[in-house]
């Protein structure tokens, strides 16, 4: 059965010298380079390509393009398996492997096709009603059945091995579609010198033009198309992108397109991505996206072998494939006569042309003159055949003259619907035109215009003229000097007679409207009978137009049938809203390179490798990576953390603190600025000193805290928490630019100008003195607690801050970023004899919990300064952001949860963050919960598990009380004692060493 339906000549897209081997459902076939999977299967006489969603009816391809509802397959295998791939646009490559889907055990014999027998129950809305007997069975029984039969193809379960990329472009004129109208538009716009981008979904331009029958500028259309493409590509100001689908028309004339870079290959080559997503900022847009042919609703209109007439012609002309050997054409318009002519020219038997129109149109008359049988006033009423069509029964519209015609291909044209998908996305309403039986776009409302078939212009000459004018108009409106008028490409004028409405042909069987979702004409009537009047309700109830083709071939018929049921004209029914994307787009393409480890950029500190060398385990802190702990060989996580914490208090530790946000602030009003930002005062801070500061949001809750130093009269250096660095800088931008532009204050981030280490522990001074040598006097006198000094150290400008998060004698040393490693090494070297160890964020946390210092866990955006025990810091002598709203009754309520310490009582195993504190274990509920534990550690310094917590009433009410740390998630409920959060060295004596 090899290439039984391939004609000996013809096929402008295929290269007969390049044969391509491929497999479908395990069987090997041969096609040609340039084929689609659908054309190659048809060439091999394979008509059965899929099963429908609900009834599992056998289906062949209906169309030759991206609007295909039936012939959808699983393409490729393994991690590259792509479900629901339209065989009509899948380009053939050597070794292509595809499988039919939604069938078991095989495409030819599908067990679930018994659903057809159940079809009385599976009509519109079946989900909602049928499975109510009995309701209690829904979840355990029916749901499983429904879910198992859900969906079409199988997605891959392994990570997608291919890459995707994004790309950006700008143009004066974007032309969508390279059919005759689009080519004419791109040519005319291009000749004005405008920057033009032409995108075309197909691998080749030309659209629905008939390459041999049509004539443009006195050339066979195929030649004109080829010449036009060459002309466009020769223009420097024009870019043509084929295999590129414009799928979304977004705000401000930004459009998105998907370029299928490698889908026509077995796998991407040469570091190319699989697909590339284009974001296009176009000044003006010409939409020339054509139209979609419609099916007629007649019984069994879904049999394989029943196809749209235009698709039949494309298979013949593009691929040299005869979809059948004996073809019956049924139409309500003139376009199908082109199919007849094409088939005739290719030597395929056209048994009859069944034309619903009572009067012979000029095209019909010509066909008759050429010896073709034309049955005017007839419509198809039933397709007959087992797994594919073998004959069709036709009759007059009044029911008389019934006749059965044998055929193996039934080519149907129910008229053309202008493709208004993209233009609808701009908000343009489709308006109904009775003369063409289709919706066309209303007046443009963005910078776009429609031309050609998508505007309802179906004759070739008209398309060319419109396209040409649209291209020039777009260029002009984009601000390009368009110069003298140019001549539009020309084609012989055709007289197209009007189509006649044929929606439901006579019959009582299954006449499909939406093929993929198995929505029949009867379903639409039924939905209406059940009281669904709105087109949106009917869409949702029947699922009309909700399949992967978004109803491109079915919506108009569905609306027409609803109009019939409602007894109203079509415009009164209206349309449902088209939603982007125009055709389905791979999720990976939207993500682009932002996946896996690349989901977000990684920020590394200057000393990252120092940590690595010492065996650090890193942890994500926002985008940063920070050393979390430094396990020695054989050491567990906890052992490592507690060893590090213990060692800091015994000797000394070094910790990379580069990720803290750092902001340099300049100007005479800096002090005043800080006064307004922070709750505490700043004007009296002397140069060379640092101070802890707390800032609120305008609603009175704590925003961030940190240490800020005064380096000179008009120069401050602020630090923020790692997590809030960006937020604080934005907050300051607002304050400086919007609130107080009169303040002479200027600032910028210096987070990456400076890197820093904290050196903490009794030996810290000794170590740094050794490291600095004569560069800095480390004495208490020169560098007292909260003192700040700048100094030159080994050729680097360094800053040292005597501040302590751990409660130990501690310093933070900053040097410019590129000296980070050198600084680390120098201090490391100096600490060799003083028991210096590296410590990570976990030990840092242990140390600060022991001291009762708050951190991220305690700053959850719902805490006030008073909640944290810092109410007294709020100055009453000056105004600051958040001051007023922090005074609302609910925020100063004495029943607020405030910061306390918790100590695990002996006997219990451990404490965990997130536990709720209750007084009575036997009466633990949402109302009796007094608060929650924020941070915990098994404190080496205290000798037991301790934690920080917020408790209603705070220390005032609970000091010394025993509460339960209720933790149902872990099935734990240990006893804890409430105590001061200053567990260790409460008098703060250790900061002096």
């Amino acid at each position: 059965m090899t290439n039984s339906h391939r004609m000996s000549t013809g096929g402008v897209r295929i290269d007969r010298n390049k044969t391509v081997m491929f497999r479908f459902d395990g069987k090997t076939y041969q096609g040609f380079h340039g084929d689609t999977l659908a054309s190659a299967l048809l060439a091999n006489g394979v008509k059965l390509m899929g099963r429908s969603f609900k009834y599992h009816r056998p289906r062949g391809c209906l169309t030759a393009g991206s609007e295909e509802p039936n012939a959808i397959v699983e393409l490729r295998t393994g991690a590259r398996r792509e479900p629901n791939t339209r065989a009509t646009i899948a380009e053939l490559y050597d070794g292509l492997e595809a499988h039919s889907q939604n069938r078991y055990p095989s495409l030819k014999f599908d067990i679930q096709s018994v659903n057809q027998l159940l079809s009385p129950f599976l009509t519109a809305g079946f989900y909602y009603k049928t499975f109510m007997w009995p309701a209690s069975f829904w979840e355990p029984v029916y749901e499983k059945i429904i879910r198992k039969s859900a969906g079409l193809g199988r997605a891959a379960v392994e990570s997608d091995p291919d890459s995707y990329e994004h790309s950006h472009t700008h143009c004066d004129v974007l032309v969508v579609g390279a059919g005759p109208a689009g080519l004419a538009a791109a040519l005319s716009a291009g000749r004005t010198g405008a920057r033009v981008l032409l995108v075309e979904e197909q691998a080749e331009p030309g659209g629905m033009v008939s390459p041999l029958l049509d004539v443009i500028d006195d050339l066979p259309a195929a030649d004109w198309v080829e010449q036009s493409l060459a002309n466009l590509e020769a223009m420097e100001n024009v870019t043509v992108r084929l295999r590129t689908t414009l799928f979304g028309y977004y705000d401000h004339n930004v459009l998105a397109a998907l370029e299928r870079v490698s889908d026509h290959l077995s796998e991407p080559e040469d570091d190319q991505p699989r697909q590339r997503m284009w974001t296009i900022r176009a000044k003006q847009v010409v939409l020339a996206c054509g139209s979609h042919e419609r099916m007629m609703a007649f019984d069994n209109n879904d049999k394989p072998g029943v196809m749209l007439a235009g698709a039949v012609r494309l298979f013949v002309e593009r691929y040299g494939v005869a979809p059948g050997k004996r073809v019956v054409i049924c139409t309500n318009n003139d376009d199908a006569y082109k199919t007849a002519a094409s088939l005739k020219q290719a030597g395929v038997e056209v048994t009859a042309i069944v034309d619903a129109r009572g009067e012979l149109s000029p095209a019909a008359a010509r066909a008759r003159e050429q010896g073709l049988r034309v049955d005017s006033g007839f419509v198809p009423c039933k397709a007959i055949g087992h797994q594919q069509v073998s004959s069709v029964s036709i009759q007059r519209r009044d029911g008389s003259g019934r006749e059965v015609l044998a055929c193996d291909c039934l080519a149907i044209s129910g008229g053309y619907s202008p493709d208004v998908h993209l233009v609808s996305q701009t908000g343009v309403a489709p308006i109904w035109r009775d003369d063409i039986l289709g919706f066309v776009p209303d007046m443009p409302i963005r910078q776009e215009r429609s031309s050609g078939a998508c505007m309802g212009t179906f004759d070739l000459a008209g398309c060319l003229t419109e396209g040409h004018a649209a291209g020039r108009d777009a260029a002009k409106k984009a601000g390009v000097k368009v110069g003298r008028a140019t001549k539009a490409p020309s084609a012989p004028t055709e007289e197209l007679a009007a189509p006649v409405a044929v929606w439901r042909c006579p019959g009582n069987g299954k006449a499909f409207v939406d093929f993929q979702n198995d929505v029949t004409a009867k379903d639409i009537q039924l939905a209406h009978q059940e009281g669904f009047v709105s087109v949106e309700h009917v869409k949702r109830y029947t699922t009309l137009g909700m399949a992967t083709d978004q109803g491109k071939t079915s919506n108009v018929t569905g609306i027409a049938l609803l109009a019939e049921a409602r007894g109203e004209p079509i415009p009164d029914v209206g349309t449902t809203r088209f939603r982007p994307p125009y055709s389905p787009v791979a999720i990976g393409a939207f993500a682009g390179h932002e996946r896996g480890k690349e989901f977000q950029p990684v920020r590394r500190t200057a000393m990252h490798e120092c940590g690595e060398k010492l065996g650090a385990v890193f942890v994500e802190a926002g985008q940063w990576l920070r050393p979390q702990y430094y396990p020695k060989s054989g050491e567990g996580v906890m052992e490592s953390i507690y060893r590090e914490a213990r060692q800091v208090r015994e000797t000394a530790g070094i910790c990379d603190v580069s990720t803290l946000g750092k902001i340099e602030i300049f100007g005479p009003d800096s002090g005043e600025f800080l006064n307004r930002l922070y709750i505490n005062g700043w004007k009296m801070l002397a140069p060379g000193k640092a101070r802890y500061g707390l800032m609120l949001r305008e609603d009175g809750y704590v925003m961030d805290d940190g240490t800020t130093s005064r380096l000179a009269d008009d120069h401050y250096f602020m630090t923020t928490t790692t997590a809030n660095a960006a937020r604080v800088l934005a907050h300051m931008d607002h304050a400086a630019q919007v609130l107080w532009p009169d303040l002479d204050v200027h600032f910028c981030s210096a987070t990456e100008q400076w890197c820093g280490v904290a050196v903490a522990g009794p030996n810290a001074r000794k170590i740094l003195a050794a490291a600095f040598g004569s560069a800095l006097d480390m004495s208490d006198e020169n560098l007292p607690f909260m003192g700040v000094r700048s100094f030159d150290w080994n050729g680097a400008r360094a800053r040292i801050f005597r501040i302590s998060f751990s409660g130990e004698l501690a310093f933070e040393v900053n040097v410019p970023w590129t000296y980070g490693e050198a600084m680390w090494d120098a201090i490391w070297e100096a600490g060799r004899d003083h028991g210096l160890i590296p410590y990570g964020t976990e030990a840092l946390s242990v140390l600060r919990i022991e001291k009762g210092h708050v951190a991220g866990n305690e700053l959850d955006g719902r805490t006030t300064a008073a909640d944290m025990g810092l109410g007294k810091m709020m100055s009453s002598k000056k105004p600051f952001i958040g001051q007023k709203l922090a005074g609302r009754e609910g925020m100063i309520d004495d029943q607020r949860a405030t910061l306390v310490g918790v100590k695990l009582k002996s006997g219990a195993q451990r404490l965990r963050g997130g536990a709720h504190l209750v007084a009575d274990q036997n009466n633990a509920n949402a109302e009796t919960s007094l608060g929650w534990v924020t941070s915990v550690c098994d404190s080496p310094a205290v000798g037991c598990w301790i934690g920080l917590a917020y408790v209603r009433g705070g220390l005032a009410e609970h000091m010394g009380n025993t509460l339960f740390a209720e933790n149902p998630i872990y099935a734990e409920s240990p006893e804890v004692e409430i105590c001061s959060p200053h567990f260790f060295d409460p008098k703060g004596e250790r900061i002096n060493g």
Binding site: A150, G151, L152, V585, G588, G592, E698, G913
Partner: protein, 395 residues
Amino acid sequence: MWRDPQPKAEYDVVIIGGGGHGLATAYYLAKEHGITNVAVIEKGWIGGGNVGRNTTIFRSNYMFPANTHFYEKGMKLWEGLERDFNFNAMISQRGVINLFHSDPQRDAFARRGNAMRLAGVDAEFVSPAQLKEMVPILDFDNARFPIQGGLMQRRGGTIRHDAVAWGYARGADSRGVDILQNCEVKDILIEGGAAVGVETSKGTIRAKKVAMAVAGHTTQVAKMAGINLPVESHVLQAFVSEGIKPLIDTVVTFGAGHFYISQSDKGGLVFGGDLDGYNSYAQRGNLPMMEHVMAGGMAIMPAIGRVRLLRHWGGIMDMSFDGSPFICKTGVEKLYLNGGWCYGGFKATPASGWCYAHTIAKDEPHELNEKFTIDRFRQGRMIDEKGVGPNPWIQ
């Protein structure tokens, strides 16, 4: 399904808004309080707002008691809903899992999970090993933010959203409630400091009580009565892929990016992320958030790369300034407010309708909704689950 009546001159209660909440309110007014002389007034077609354009998830995994009890009431109503109105809404308790990716996040989730458990709501931690079993396509090997575990509510899940609107509509209609479609409220009539009816595109309709339930248009309608609310309207996008065979059996949310996902009964992957982030009444979103959401998907489930996005759309969220809703009386007598649902409105539908019906019928809130007042902001008693403060676009 329901009648298409002409408006009467007067009703006991007029509900503005034929979305999920309005219809549910009418249903419970009739069923629980015997108040059937009720009209639900809808500008377009019923169920055309957020109840028809959400991602169909229900859950009650909140931290603050005001929310936990309320949403748990909703959960219980969901569980009995189908029998209640003899209509299959395809309720599927497939579980909702919030992934966590760091120790602080784990602790924050523990706090929430414990709050749920203490309120009698189911919650549990699931380990990476369990997650691998439940959601095999999660990426544990190459994640930018490694998955450490998840907080799971097994009773959470998904429902067929349209069925909810239709079920309530049918139930209300059969009890005598008039559903007036294509009827736009132009003004709220106030006499002597009390609401007495509405002016509509179909004429004046008087009412003993007027109740607003208009989601994204809450501030617009409230303004008719001179009420200014701490609410902004923002667009939230939703996405659905082509139908594929079952791949994801639960609802999964990514804790380190804006992404959540489930799979519908028809096989589509239904997913979403965060607000587009600017005031909007347009039911469409833009590219940056789309790309961001799908990057979130690819960050934790790189196998979905070749699954195709079928459609995306937007809904208008009535974002309150603390992320929590209003079901309360207003400064105007006999005028009631239901709004500020942010993007949590769908799952609240039954509880919202039930509590709102109570509030309207008794002219005082039920204890389940007594904290959902407008005054809470002035009092400084916000219910801010996210802790991001008065910035509705990031709530």
